[in-house]
Each structure stands twice: as C-alpha cells, then as structure tokens.
C-alpha cells in the first residue's frame, strides 16, 4: 500500500511540471510583458514612474533573464508559497487571494457532497425502475440539467432566492461578515448562502453522474451473481443492498476524477455571476486586465486542486475496493 501511495505521488510530479509549463506559456502569450504596458499606462496618465519600483519588479520576476530561468524562478517561488506579485493590486498574490482559495475548496467540496446526496438515490431508482415513467422523467430532468447553462440558472436562482427567501443577493455571506474573522455566526451565514451556488454548480455534474451511475448499476444488476442471489430466493431489497449497491459506492469515489474538473469549471462562472468571494471573479478580472501572474497562480491552483482530488479518490478507491490488487503475483 505504502509503495503504491509513493508511486502514485511520484507520478503526479511530471503531470504537475507539464501543467506548470503550459500555464507559464499562457502567461507569456500576450505580446510584450505586463511591466511594459504598465509603465506605458502610467506614463499615459501623466504619473511619474518610480524607477526604483520598476527595478524591483524587474528584479522580482527576473524579466530580463532568459525564458527558462524565468520559469524556474516562478516555479521555485510557488514551491516556497510565493505566488508572485499582482501588478494590478500592487500586492503579493498571496495577500490578494486571501480566503478565496479556501472558499473555492469549500464550495467545491460541498458541491460534490450535494452531487452524491442527489445522484445516489435517483441513480438507484432509475436503474431499478428502468424504462418506467419515473426513470424517463428523471432522465429528462437530468438532460435539462446538462443543457441549461449554469450562469443563467445562477441568475434565476439568485432572483428567486431574493424574492422568496430574502437572501441577500450574491456573495457567500451576509455583508456584515465580509472581512471579519471566522465565527459561528459567520459560518451560519455562509451556510445560508452557499446552497444557491452549490445547487447551480451541482446540476450539471449531478445529471452526468446519475446517467453514469444508472448505466453502471444496470450492468451490475445483469451479472450472474445477482441472478443467482435472486434464484436462491433472496428478497429483492436485500439482493440490491447486499452487493450491487456496494459496487455503486466504489463508483462514487472513482467518479470524482470525472466530475471534479466540471465542478471547478462550473464554480468559476457561477462565482462570477453570483459574485462569490472565490477564485472565479478574480481570475476573470486578472485575465481581462492581463494581470497574467495572478491569473497563472489561480490556474495553477485550480489544476492542483483537480490533481490532488483525483489522487485522493484513487487512494480511497484502493483502500475501499478489495478487487484492486496492487502488488501483482498474489493469486486470489
């Protein structure tokens, strides 16, 4: 087991290196560097450019060094927890980002829990009542969940929540808690607000998961051991709960890999519409103003979240599913 974990973690490293190279290339893509346009902008506004500051920034990013060195500099900074310097805010990126990463993780994790809670019963119902009206109805709702763009859903939900429940519009907490340290009241306020984004982000992945769970469970239900169990006279409920459902549980863990990128993608755009204090709106702003180092850090963070999420799901699957044999050679 330990060997597998080490192996798996080591395998992550080349992936992360490749990801960081891609992101670095994207950062470098806009013509000219940000510093030049920044100076030009300041001069255009008639402000004096502090040569000391420029020199500091140039030094900080090693902008006059060759590309490879800049890349190493950037990566080395990130490894030390230094995510670069936001030109727009004139602050180190870590300061700008603040709680945003934490809240992004909170929203994503809650969304996955929500997806499980909804997809599990519906998937089982659809599989056990194949081709019934309930199955068709739920499948159709699932398709709708895939088809409705989640930013529109977010807008409408936000409006409805405001009209019918009086929840303040947008954000992840009541306005009085913003910038305050974490407390019980703030936590409760977050809970009151988090359900809208969670439902909005969750619909797409829930719909996908229901379809996959249904297909998986249907395959499982046709296997011989189920037939045998039924022929032996086991009550239908027990037949279902004893074996096929346990298989389905494993599927839940392994499916994280496919829903996590969707959840995080959906979370970004929903966050922009609902103006959540997560990574989304800031990433968009950074991209729009070409503050590429800030954007790069966010992208890196999101990709890291996915890689680690998939890693956790892989490890959990190994721990849970006895059929996955790690060291070959041991027969049965």
């Amino acid at each position: 087991m330990l060997r597998y974990i080490v192996h798996r973690v080591l395998l992550m490293i080349p992936t992360l290196i490749a990801i960081s190279i891609i992101i670095f290339v994207i950062i470098q893509l806009p013509p000219g560097n940000y510093l030049e346009s920044y100076i030009a902008e300041l001069q255009a506004q008639g402000e004096s450019v502090d040569p000391q500051k420029i020199a500091f920034l140039r030094e900080y990013y090693g902008l006059d060094k060759p590309m490879a060195e800049q890349y190493l500099h950037w990566v080395w900074g990130m490894l030390r927890g230094d995510f670069g310097y936001s030109f727009e805010f004139n602050l180190p990126v870590t300061k700008v980002v603040g709680d945003r990463m934490l809240l992004t993780m909170l929203v994503s994790a809650t969304t996955i829990l929500f997806t499980w809670a909804v997809a599990f019963p519906i998937g089982i119902y659809s599989a056990t009542h194949q081709y019934s009206w309930g199955d068709y109805g739920l499948s159709f709702i699932g398709f709708l969940g895939i088809a409705v763009p989640n930013f529109m859903l977010a807008l409408v939900m936000m409006y409805l929540a405001n009209v019918y429940f009086g929840t303040s519009i947008g954000g992840l907490m009541g306005p009085e808690f913003i910038g305050k340290p974490w407390s019980w009241a703030k936590f409760v306020s977050v809970l009151e607000h988090i359900w809208i984004p969670v439902i909005v982000i969750g619909t797409h992945s829930t719909a996908g998961m229901i379809r996959r769970l249904r297909a998986n469970l249907l395959d499982e239900l046709q296997k011989q051991y189920v037939v045998t169990a039924r022929a032996k006279g086991l009550p239908p409920r027990k037949v279902l709960f004893k074996y096929p459902l346990r298989m389905a549980l494993n599927f839940f863990i392994s499916d994280i890999g496919s829903i996590l990128p969707h959840v995080i993608s959906g979370a970004e755009i929903t966050a922009v519409v609902l103006s959540l204090p997560t990574a989304g709106p800031m990433l968009l702003n950074a991209l729009k103003s070409q503050d590429m180092y800030l954007a790069g850090s966010f992208l890196m963070f999101l990709a890291l979240m996915i890689v680690i999420g998939v890693l956790i799901s892989d490890l959990a699957l190994v721990a849970l599913d006895p059929r996955i044999r790690l060291q070959g050679g041991v027969a049965r």
């Binding site: 080349p14 992936t15 490749a18 990801i19 891609i22 992101i23 994207i26 893509l29 806009p30 013509p31 398709f143 709708l144 895939i146 088809a147 409705v148 763009p149 930013f151 529109m152 807008l155 409408v156 936000m158 409006y159 405001n162 519009i169 947008g170 990128p261 969707h262 995080i264 993608s265 959906g266 970004e268 755009i269 922009v272 519409v273 990433l283 968009l284 991209l287 729009k288 070409q290 954007a295 966010f298 992208l299 999101l302 990709a303 996915i306 890689v307 998939v310």
Partner: protein, 389 residues
C-alpha cells in the same frame, strides 16, 4: 386382403414436390434485405426506431436550415435600431379583434414614462388592429452580405412595429437578433468539431498505430490536458487573443481554442479502438495477404469505428456551444458586431435584467433546445452505431 394391409400402414403425408436440401438455408426476402444491407443502412434502420432521436434530428436540421435564410425569416436586421422603443416588452399576436376574426395582427405599442420608477412602460393600444403582412418587403438587407433585397417572411404594417420577443437596450428586435445569432452559435460548434475531429483522428491514430513510446507520450499529454478545468483554461486562452484582432479573426480564434481542448476524448477513442481492432483476425488476414498499413487502416480499420466516432463527435458539439456561450457571456469570447447567443446573453448579466426585462434572457431557450437536441440525436446515433444492441 390388400386393402387390410393398406389400412394397417400408418398414414402419413409425403409431399410430391421434389426435395430441395438447401431450403432451410434459403432466406426470405426480408432476411435477405437485412443480411445484404450495408452497415450505414443498418444504422439508419436502427436509428429510425429511436423516435426522440429522429425528432431531435429534424429539429437540428430545421435550425441549421434556418441559418441559410436568416435574413428572410427575421422581421428586422441585426442592427436595426428603434430608438423610440427601448426595452419594449414583447408584443403578442392576436387573431380576434372585438370578437371578430381579423387574422394575425398586433396592436400598436404605446410608450409612457412612469414618473415614480422612471421606467419606460409599454401598453397595447387596443383601438385599432394592425394586420401582419406576409411575404412582404420590409427592412432592406444584403442577402448573405452580397445581394440587395428587402423580402421578408413577415412584416408589420407600415409604421407599426413587430417585436415578438421585445427589444434590447438599443431598441433592437430580440427575435431577429436570436435568429442572426444562430448563424454564429451553430457554426462554431460544427467548425470546432471538424478541427477537433481531424486532430483526434490524426493524433489518436498515430498513438494507436505506432504504440510504444509515442503512445506513452501522447497519453501523458492527453492526461495533462484533461486534468485542467476546461472553462478557466478556455478563459485564459481567449483572454490572450490580441485585442487588435478583427471580430472575424476572434471568431476563428475562439473556435480553435474550443477545439484545442475537445480533441482529447476523440483521440482516446480512436486509439483504444485502433489498438483493439489491430488484433482482429481480419486484420491479420489482410496483413498476411500483403496489404500495406495505409490500406489496412483506411480500408479495414477506419470503417469499423467511423460510425462510433461520428456519434461521439456529435455528443461533444453541445460542450463547445455551451463553452462559446459561457465565454461570450463573460465578455471574453466573441465580441460585437459578431452576434452569437452568448453575446446576446451578455446583456442579461445582472439581476436587474431578470427582474425588469426578463425577455432579454430568451436567447437561452435556443441554447437549451440545441443542446438537448444534440444530446438525444447523439445518443440515438451511438445506439444505432453499436452493432451489439
């Protein structure tokens, strides 16, 4: 005596017809038709049974056909502005005026300014019906940007207005803009799928045919691309498209970006199918008979999974359409004057719109319809392409 002996015999039927030993193997005409049908014909028969998929196919066909004659279908031009009717609410078509059948007509819109909320309010003036004209001449336009025409399917009476889905903040007819937007939104998905189909076929083919080191590298690359959250990466790439590009270049740029991330799924499918089919007996037979790799791939392998590939390509079009819509909605995708459904939705970005001008959210309806249709159509195609069902 002889008669008694005859009655002792068990009576049984013997046919006089000459015996034909091949009769069991002979096929009825239907069977023959079935066994001789080509793979595509079989697919078509199976596809026809899937009623939802057929209906979706027809809807798709109609929507794509409408983009050919957009100018005729739309009552107004893309950029025609009615400065007197800003944020006009949708007008409805009536049939009966004061209990009398008049045919389809609209009432005149009367604008008033609510002095408390400072909102423009529109009410119907029901005193006079204004019949609609069909096959009429209205807003002049250039058909396909080339031929000067003014022929429309439907137009309002001279001096009257026809805003079936209301107008936007510049007084432009929302229905016409949705119809024009279909051109961009629908083609971006098709164009994108062509690019990613080609990429997936070539890259997946290389990985599957050569195997070994090449395969390993390509697999890793695909894995890395897949571990990115799609939308943020799209956002980043489209944000770095130079501002100086013309809208049409941006259109191709965005299409390319969408295609760049979508080919991975297809490449994987091609690779795994190639690896599996390469080991099939008929492939070995072809090789033993001296066929070149080109012929084996083109003649024996590709047709084996082309139908499957087309089905999965169909299923990845909606993702691209949604992606473009999302990017344009955020304001980093296509930009005016190119109008797609996402660009239209960009106007419906804040909650005021939902509360005050809900009709500006209507461009989302064709998005939902097209995505549902592609999903059902693709599902039907996939089932039909699967020979084991």
């Amino acid at each position: 005596m002889s008669t008694a002996a005859a009655t002792d015999k068990l009576e049984h039927f013997v046919s006089d017809a000459p015996f034909d030993p091949t009769s069991a193997a002979r096929l009825t005409p239907e069977q023959e038709r079935f066994y001789l049908a080509s793979q595509w014909k079989l697919m078509w028969w199976k596809f026809k049974l899937h009623r939802v998929a057929v209906v979706s196919g027809i809807i798709l066909l109609l929507m794509y056909a409408s983009t050919i004659v957009t100018e005729v279908l739309a009552p107004y031009n893309l950029h025609t502005r009615h400065t007197d009717f800003i944020y006009a609410s949708p007008q409805s078509v009536h049939l009966f005026h004061e209990g009398r059948f008049v045919g389809p007509f609209v009432y005149e819109l009367r604008k008033s300014l609510n002095m408390e909320t400072l909102r423009r309010e529109y009410a119907e003036d029901t005193s006079r019906p204004l019949p609609l004209r069909f096959f009429c001449s209205g807003d002049p336009y250039k058909f396909w940007g080339m031929i000067d025409m003014s022929f429309h399917l439907v137009c309002p009476e001279e001096g009257a207005t026809l805003f079936l889905l209301g107008t936007d903040r510049l007084g432009r007819d929302v229905l016409s803009r949705i119809l024009y937007g279909a051109r961009i939104s629908l083609t971006i998905g098709l164009l994108g799928i062509f690019i990613s189909f080609a990429l997936g076929l070539v890259i997946g083919g290389i990985a599957g045919y050569f195997g070994g080191m090449v395969d390993l590298v390509i697999q890793r690359v695909i894995e890395v691309i897949r571990s990115f959250p799609e939308l943020p990466l799209w956002m980043a790439l489209s944000a770095v498209l130079p501002v100086t590009w013309s809208p049409i270049l941006i259109y191709f740029g965005i299409t390319g970006i969408l295609a760049m991330l979508e080919w991975t799924g297809l490449a994987r499918a091609v690779r795994s199918k190639l690896l599996a089919l390469r080991e099939e007996d008929y492939c070995t037979a072809a090789r033993l008979m001296g066929a070149r790799p080109k012929r084996i791939i083109g003649r024996h392998l590709l047709p084996g999974f082309m139908s499957h590939l087309i089905a999965s390509a169909t299923l990845s079009i909606p993702g691209m359409i949604l992606g473009e819509t999302a990017l344009s909605f955020l304001g980093i995708g296509l930009r005016p004057p190119i109008t797609s459904w996402g660009v239209l939705l960009n106007e419906a970005q804040n909650i005021n719109v939902v509360a005050l001008y809900p009709w500006l959210m209507l461009p989302v309806v064709p998005v939902i319809v097209i995505i549902l249709a592609f999903n059902f159509f693709g599902d039907g195609l996939r089932d039909a392409a699967d020979p084991y069902r």
